[in-house]
C-alpha cells in the first residue's frame, strides 16, 4: 500500500508498542486482542439495561466487602455500648450490634450500608428490565437460549441473595421475614420440616441462622453468581450481540461502534454514572434504618412493614390466597402456604425459564436469529410477556392490602376480594389488550415514525392541491453504509479543522452525512 508513512517505518509504535510486542511473544495476544478491540457493539438504548445490572453487581461486591470487614455474624447476645445512645445498655445480638456500629461508628459506614442496599434494589430492577428487553425483542431465540437461562437464573439467585442479606442485620423486621421463609419451607408436603431443619440448623430461630446465612450470602451465592455473570458475558462476546434491523444490518454481521476506544469510553463512563446515582441515593435517601426497628425478638413485630420490592409479589400471593389448609390421610397439607409460597413462584419461574423451549415447540422455528424482533411483530409473545408482568404486578400490589385499605378508607375485606379478582382478571385483559395493540400497530403504516405534514394550497381558480411538506431538518437522516474498523487514521489532528466537508448541522444536533 502507498501509505508507508513514517509511523509505519518506525513501526514499533513507541514504548506501548514495544510492551505489546513483548506480551504477544509470550501470550499470543495480537490476533485475539485486535479482534477484541474491533469488536462491534450495536447502539440501542435498551442494550444499556444489562450494563446497569452488571455495574450495580460490581458495586454490590465492593461495598459488600467493606461491610464484611466490620460485621460479625453471630447470634451471641451482648450488651450494646456503642455510639447510638437509645440502644446503650440493651441486650442485642452481636450481629445487630456490629451492624449498628458499622453504621454509626465507622466513618462512611452508613453510606456504604445504604449503597449496598440501594445497589441491590437497583441490581434486581435492572435484571428484570433487562430480561424484559431480551424477552420482548426475541433476543433469547436460537442460538442464545442458554444465555437467557443463565440470566434468568441470575435473577432468581439475586432474589435469594437479597433476601439473605436483608436478614443479616438481625433487626426486628428482618427476623419476621426469616420466620415466614421458615414457615414456607415447612409447608412442603412430607419433607418440609426436614428441609427447614436442615436449612436452619434446627427449629426456628436457633443460633445457626446468622452465621449460616452470612456465609451463604457473602461466599456461596456470590461465587456462583460471579461464575454465571462471567459465563453470561463470555457467551455475549462469543455469540456477538443481537441488533435491530437497519441499514447494512444482516443476520451475518454486527453494525455499531467499535469496542476501543469508543464503546470502552462510554461503558467506563456509564459504570461511574451508575455508581454516582447509587451513591447519591445512598447519601440522600434513607433505606432500611435498622436502628429504628430495634433488635430482633421473635415475639415482637412491627406494623405495616413491607419487604424489599422484589419480595413483594411473593408476599402478595401469600396474603390473598384463601385459608385452604387441608387435613387428610392423617396428615396436614398446608396448601394456603404451599401453593402461593412454593407452587406459584415455581410455576412462574418455570414458564419464564422454559419460554425459549415452549416458543420453539409452538413456532417450529429452528433458525439462527441475530436480528431482533419488534415486539409488535410478535403479538402472542408480547401479549404473554405483558400478561406475566401484569400478574406479578397485581401480586405485588396485593402485598399492600392493609396500606391500601388504610389510605383509601375502604374495608380490608373489599381490598382483599378486589385483589383476588384483579390478580386473575388483569392479566387476562392485559393479554388480549396487548395482542390487539400489537396487531393495530402492525396494521398502521409508519407507526412510531414522525408524520410528514401535508400542505394544502388553493389556486386562484379555487382548486385545492395537496402535497407533502418539505421535510423538517433532521427528518432526512440517512444512515451511512457501515464499514470495517480502520487500522489507523490518516492524520487524526486534521479532523476538527475539516468542518467544511461536512453536511449542515441537523435540527436535532446530530450531523447528517449523506454519502
Amino acid at each position: 500500500m502507498a501509505e508507508k508513512t513514517k509511523q509505519q517505518a518506525k513501526s514499533s509504535f513507541g514504548p506501548v508498542g514495544k510492551a505489546l510486542d513483548e506480551l504477544d511473544d509470550r501470550l499470543g495476544i495480537a490476533k485475539g486482542g485486535r479482534s477484541l478491540l474491533d469488536k462491534i457493539f450495536p447502539d440501542h438504548w435498551s442494550f444499556m439495561l444489562g450494563e446497569v445490572a452488571l455495574y450495580s453487581f460490581v458495586i454490590l461486591i465492593g461495598t459488600g466487602i467493606f461491610l464484611t470487614l466490620f460485621y460479625v455474624p453471630s447470634s451471641t447476645v451482648v450488651v450494646y455500648h456503642g455510639s447510638y445512645l437509645p440502644l446503650v445498655g440493651q441486650k442485642v445480638s452481636q450481629a445487630y450490634a456490629t451492624s449498628i456500629d458499622l453504621t454509626f461508628s465507622v466513618r462512611c459506614g452508613l453510606l456504604m450500608r445504604q449503597m449496598h442496599h440501594w445497589a441491590c434494589d437497583i441490581f434486581l430492577a435492572a435484571m428484570v428490565v433487562h430480561m424484559a428487553r431480551v424477552f420482548f425483542t426475541g433476543a433469547f431465540r436460537k442460538p442464545r437460549e442458554l444465555n437467557y437461562v443463565l440470566g434468568s437464573t441470575l435473577l432468581i439467585l439475586g432474589i435469594v441473595e437479597g433476601f439473605l442479606g436483608y436478614s443479616l442485620p438481625d433487626d426486628l423486621v428482618s427476623g419476621t421475614g426469616i420466620r415466614i421463609a421458615f414457615s414456607i419451607i415447612e409447608s412442603i408436603p412430607v419433607i418440609g420440616s426436614y428441609i427447614a431443619f436442615f436449612v436452619f440448623g434446627g427449629n426456628y430461630p436457633g443460633p445457626q441462622i446468622i452465621p449460616r446465612f452470612f456465609i451463604i450470602h457473602v461466599l456461596l451465592i456470590p461465587l456462583i453468581m460471579l461464575g454465571m455473570v462471567t459465563a453470561h458475558l463470555f457467551l455475549l462476546v462469543h455469540q456477538k450481540h443481537t441488533q435491530f434491523p437497519g441499514k447494512g444490518r444482516t443476520e451475518t454481521n454486527v453494525v455499531g461502534t467499535a469496542m476501543f476506544p469508543v464503546f470502552a469510553a462510554k461503558a467506563t463512563g456509564f459504570l461511574f454514572m451508575v455508581g454516582g446515582v447509587i451513591t447519591l441515593l445512598a447519601g440522600f435517601a434513607q433505606i432500611n434504618p435498622i436502628w429504628q426497628f430495634g433488635p430482633y425478638d421473635a415475639s415482637k413485630i412491627s406494623y405495616a412493614v413491607q419487604p424489599d420490592w422484589y419480595m413483594g409479589w411473593l408476599d402478595g400471593a401469600l396474603r390473598i390466597w384463601p385459608a385452604w389448609e387441608w387435613t387428610g390421610f392423617g396428615y396436614t397439607w398446608p396448601l394456603e402456604i404451599f401453593i402461593p409460597g412454593v407452587v406459584v413462584p415455581g410455576l412462574i419461574f418455570a414458564v419464564v425459564q422454559g419460554w425459549p423451549v415452549l416458543e420453539r415447540r409452538y413456532t417450529k422455528d429452528n433458525e439462527i436469529h441475530n436480528l431482533l424482533d419488534l415486539p409488535r411483530n410478535r403479538p402472542k409473545r408480547t401479549a404473554a410477556g405483558a400478561a406475566v408482568f401484569a400478574l406479578v404486578t397485581m401480586m405485588f400490589i396485593a402485598s399492600s392490602t392493609d396500606v391500601i385499605a388504610n389510605y383509601f378508607h375502604i374495608t380490608l375485606e373489599a381490598v382483599l376480594w378486589s385483589m383476588r379478582i384483579l390478580v386473575v382478571v388483569v392479566p387476562i385483559i392485559t393479554f388480549f389488550l396487548t395482542h390487539k395493540i400489537c396487531q393495530e400497530l402492525q396494521a398502521s403504516q409508519g407507526a412510531g415514525k414522525r408524520k410528514r405534514a401535508n400542505v394544502v394550497t388553493r389556486t386562484p381558480d379555487g382548486e385545492y392541491l395537496s402535497a407533502p411538506a418539505e421535510p423538517r431538518p433532521g427528518d432526512e437522516h440517512v444512515d451511512l453504509e457501515p464499514e470495517p474498523v480502520p487500522d489507523f487514521l490518516e492524520d487524526p489532528v486534521v479532523v476538527r479543522e475539516r468542518k467544511e466537508l461536512l453536511s449542515p448541522v441537523s435540527f436535532t444536533g446530530v450531523r447528517n452525512v449523506v454519502r
Partner: protein, 313 residues
C-alpha cells in the same frame, strides 16, 4: 522479531474526512469545553468528598460529594465517547457458531464411536463405574444434609408449657391475678425462658384480660380462662408471625403480617385472612400463691401447618 525482518503490513487507513470518523457533536469545540468542565466539576466534588471525609461530615454530605463527583466524571467520559469519538457505523462479520460438516462428523465420531465404542467394549465395567458414581453422589449428599441440622422428630409439635408453669412477662416478672386491668394484654413466656430463642419464638403466648369472671371460649374449655383471663399462642397459624395487634373493642387479635383476625372470646376462630386455624389456647389456673399458671401444654402444635402436625397432645 526485530523490526528489520518485519514484512510490510497493509494497513487500512481512514481518511480524516471519512464521515465514519466524525464526532456526533454539532459543535465539537463547545462539546469539548463542556465535557472538560463537567469532569473538572467531578474532580472538585471528589476533593470535596476527601475534605468531608477528613472532617467526618454527615453521611449525606459524604454521599452527596462522592456521588456527584463520580456521576460528573462518568457523565464526562460517556459524553466524550458519545459525542466526540467516531461513531461509525462500523461492521464486523459474524462467524457462525456451527462448525462445517466435516468438523461435526469428526467430533461426533470421536464422542459416539471412539469414546462410546471403547467404553461399550467393557459393558460390565461401565455399569459398575456408573453405579459407583451414583453411590458416591448419594453418599455425599445424605450425610452432608444430615449434618446441617437435627431431624425434626416431634419438636414442632411441642412447646415448653407444662402443668404448673408460671406465666412471666418479657422482663421475667410473674403475672399475678390482679396485675392486669380488664382490656389489658401482655405477652407471656414460661418462667425462665423469657429471654431464650425458643421461649420467644415458640412458647410466646398472648395473655388478655377480657373480664373478671371465668371466660369460656368453647365447650370443653370451661376451666381454661379463670378470672377473665384468656391465653392464646402468639404464633399466627398462617406463617408464624407474632399476632401482635389486639383490637380491644371488637375483641380481635390481628396479625400484622397478613391481617388474619382471630376472635378472642370465641376460641380465637379466624374470621378474616389467610390463617386456616384458630390460635391454640393455653389452659390457665390461678395458683394458691395468686400467680397465673398453665394447666398444661397446648392441646395441639402451635404456629403454621406442616406435614405431621398433631392436633391433640
Amino acid at each position: 522479531m526485530s523490526s528489520e525482518e518485519r514484512t510490510p503490513v497493509a494497513f487500512s487507513v481512514a481518511k480524516a474526512d471519512d464521515p465514519h470518523m466524525q464526532p456526533k457533536a454539532q459543535n465539537p469545540k463547545l462539546a469539548e469545553t463542556l465535557i472538560g468542565l463537567v469532569m473538572l466539576a467531578g474532580i472538585g466534588s471528589l476533593i470535596g468528598f476527601a475534605v468531608a471525609y477528613g472532617m467526618n461530615a454527615q453521611s449525606w454530605i459524604m454521599g452527596g460529594t462522592l456521588g456527584a463527583g463520580v456521576l460528573f466524571l462518568g457523565f464526562g467520559i460517556t459524553a466524550w465517547g458519545k459525542y466526540l469519538m467516531p461513531q461509525g457505523p462500523f461492521v464486523e462479520e459474524r462467524h457462525t457458531m456451527r462448525g462445517n460438516d466435516d468438523e461435526r462428523e469428526r467430533f461426533k465420531a470421536a464422542v459416539v464411536q471412539r469414546g462410546g465404542g471403547i467404553l461399550g467394549r467393557r459393558k460390565l465395567l461401565a455399569m459398575i463405574a456408573g453405579a459407583g458414581m451414583s453411590a458416591f453422589a448419594v453418599v455425599l449428599v445424605i450425610p452432608v444434609f444430615r449434618s446441617f441440622g437435627p431431624l425434626p422428630g416431634n419438636t414442632l409439635n411441642q412447646t415448653s408449657w407444662k402443668q404448673g408453669t408460671i406465666l412471666v412477662d418479657s422482663t421475667g416478672r410473674p403475672i399475678r391475678v390482679n396485675d392486669i386491668a380488664v382490656g389489658g394484654v401482655v405477652t407471656v413466656y414460661p418462667k425462665g425462658l423469657e429471654n431464650t430463642d425458643n421461649g420467644q419464638a415458640v412458647d410466646q403466648t398472648i395473655l388478655i384480660r377480657v373480664g373478671t369472671e371465668a371466660v369460656v371460649t368453647q365447650q370443653g374449655r370451661e376451666s381454661w380462662g379463670p378470672n377473665g383471663y384468656v391465653a392464646y399462642s402468639k404464633l399466627c397459624t398462617h406463617l408464624g408471625c407474632p399476632v401482635g395487634l389486639y383490637e380491644q373493642q371488637l375483641e380481635l387479635l390481628v396479625c400484622p403480617c397478613h391481617q388474619s383476625m382471630f376472635t378472642v372470646t370465641n376460641g380465637a376462630e379466624p374470621i378474616f385472612g389467610p390463617a386456616p386455624r384458630p390460635l391454640p389456647q393455653l389452659p390457665l389456673f390461678v395458683g394458691s400463691d395468686g400467680l397465673l399458671r398453665a394447666q398444661g401444654g397446648y392441646d395441639q402444635a402451635v404456629g403454621p401447618g406442616f406435614w405431621n402436625r398433631e392436633t391433640s397432645g
